[in-house]
Structures are given as structure tokens and as C-alpha cells.
Symmetry: C2
């Protein structure tokens, strides 16, 4: 498989996972969180999927297409290890869908960053919220969900926060 | 359609056009020319399609993944308006497949560059050679070929050089 093949499969997997996640959280009240804006293509897809939700975006510096730059009240610039804790006041348990794609192409670095970020992401997730992530994540409070049909295991990852609410 | 949808369709169109072009030139003797290396994904796909052909690459400066950097005898660094004429000695009528993807994301700029480059590319093409191009190209010596099945017109472009050889 060429790098072109692999890239196309990754993008198709990303899109399919986001669309499945959108179905899964359709009935939940809350916001969307994009972790890594990059060129803004995925953010644009999230805008199409969630026209009526606020989409918060964390990114170090903006390098996106001008059409894909979030409105400044929803754009958290800087290191996510600092901006995510700062979002806690506004977004604790409010995020119905978070998407993590550090996207620097370095698998080991992405995985290491994801491991640092996941304890900061989980508290923001709605108790039934979903995390879509390119690097696989191991966290006690996250349970892996089945991937969409025809998506190869490991190509993208889908998790739901495990609720620890007392039974009714 | 989101920018993510559009990007996936463009990559799928690119891959389908390259694979159709590979079939079309399978019986011709000659080399391959990649105009624009970028991150090297398409070059990697060309290597898979043409393991037994030389693949020449023109690019201003290399910014590709280290695995996707061509061997230096086949890598022409600099402005293509200068490197293409310099290749004429080696490649006149020898290129069975050229792929042009200036890929700066600016449609008008890509089209303008393609118009400047096409008179430099055509003389390198084998008399039955094929040009696969992201921007559409208008040139007397190029005839548009039908696109692969399921590829929308205009998403990618496929041309064959028109031979001006006397009839047998």
C-alpha cells in the first residue's frame, strides 16, 4: 500500500468515525471540541455535521485556510496542555464530541501527546460523550466503541466516556 | 460538501487517474515525470505503479517525508520553468506519463502555472504519452481523455499527446 493509499484510508476512516459519532450523540445537549485545527478541513466537516452546536477549537497557532478559522471566542490558541485546563470552567462535562488529531505525522509523538492530553479531555466530556481520536488512547474512563463498517481496526479510534453516575 | 469531502474526492480522483494512465501507457517504453513532489505521497504511489521505470521529479525545494525523497540523479531542484527546459536533452519524447500537481491550493495560481508549464511539458512527452494534471490544461498538442468511472468531470484531468507522425 502506498502512502497515498494509506492517507486516503485514514481520511475516509476519520470521516466515517465523525459521522458515526454524530449519530451517537445526536440526542445529547452540549458542545463540540476540535483538538488540532491544522488546515481546517476537519473543522469544516464538523461545521457541516453540527450547524447548531458551538465548536470549540484548540490549536497552537492558526495555519488554516481563511474560510476555516473559528470565531475568536471559540478559538483557544496555545499549548493544549494549558488551554484544556483553562476550558474546564466553561466546558466541564459539556463536550458531547471531541476530536483529537495532533496530526504531526509522527506516530510516537502523537501517541505521547494523546496520553498527556487524555486526562485533560475526559473531564470535559459529557458523561455519555464520544471521543474520536487518531492515536489510540488508553484511559480508565474511556471505553472503545465499535468502528463504522468497513473501517479497519486501529486506523482511527472511537471512545465513549464511561459514566460513573449512581444508578437511578 | 465539506472541505474534507472535497479533499477525499480529489485524492481518489488523482489515484484513479494515475492508475488508468498506467494502464494506457503500459506498452510504451519510457520514463515517468512527477511535477511537484510535495510531501511525496503521490511519488510513493508512482513508485508502486512503476517499479521498473525511472521516475524523474521536479520540485522547488524538498519538503517530503524522508522515505519519499527521490534519488538525487532523478531529482531536479528549482523553478520548473528552468528545470523542465534543462531536462529536454535527456527526456525529449521519452516521458510516457507526466503528473502535474502544483498543489498550492490556489486555483488561479495553479492554473496560471500550468499554462506556463504545459509548453515545456509537451515536448518531453512520448508521442503517445499521457499527462495527468490537477489543473485543467489547454494545449493544441494535448487531447483530453475520458476520466475513470465515477470520477466527476473537472476534479482531475487526463490528456494524451496528439501524435503528428505521418500515417504508415
Amino acid at each position: 500500500m502506498s502512502r497515498l493509499d494509506s492517507f486516503i484510508r485514514r481520511l475516509e476512516a476519520q470521516r466515517a468515525c465523525l459521522e458515526l459519532a454524530a449519530d451517537l450523540i445526536a440526542d445529547l445537549d452540549g458542545e463540540v471540541l476540535e483538538l488540532g485545527l491544522g488546515n481546517g478541513r476537519t473543522y469544516d466537516h464538523l461545521r457541516k455535521l453540527f450547524p447548531h452546536r458551538k465548536i470549540y477549537v484548540c490549536e497552537r497557532t492558526v495555519a488554516a485556510h481563511p474560510d476555516c478559522v473559528p470565531p475568536s471566542p471559540l478559538l483557544m490558541l496555545g499549548d493544549m496542555r494549558e488551554t484544556l485546563p483553562a476550558l474546564h470552567v466553561r466546558l466541564a462535562e459539556r463536550v458531547v464530541l471531541a476530536h483529537l488529531d495532533p496530526g504531526n505525522g509522527e506516530i510516537a509523538a502523537s501517541k505521547a501527546l494523546a496520553d498527556q492530553l487524555s486526562p485533560l479531555i475526559v473531564p470535559l466530556l459529557h458523561p455519555d460523550g464520544v471521543l474520536v481520536s487518531e492515536p489510540a488512547i488508553t484511559a480508565d474512563q474511556l471505553s472503545a466503541l465499535p468502528l463504522p463498517d468497513r473501517i479497519e481496526p486501529g486506523r482511527y479510534n472511537l471512545y465513549r466516556r464511561i459514566s460513573h453516575r449512581p444508578p437511578p
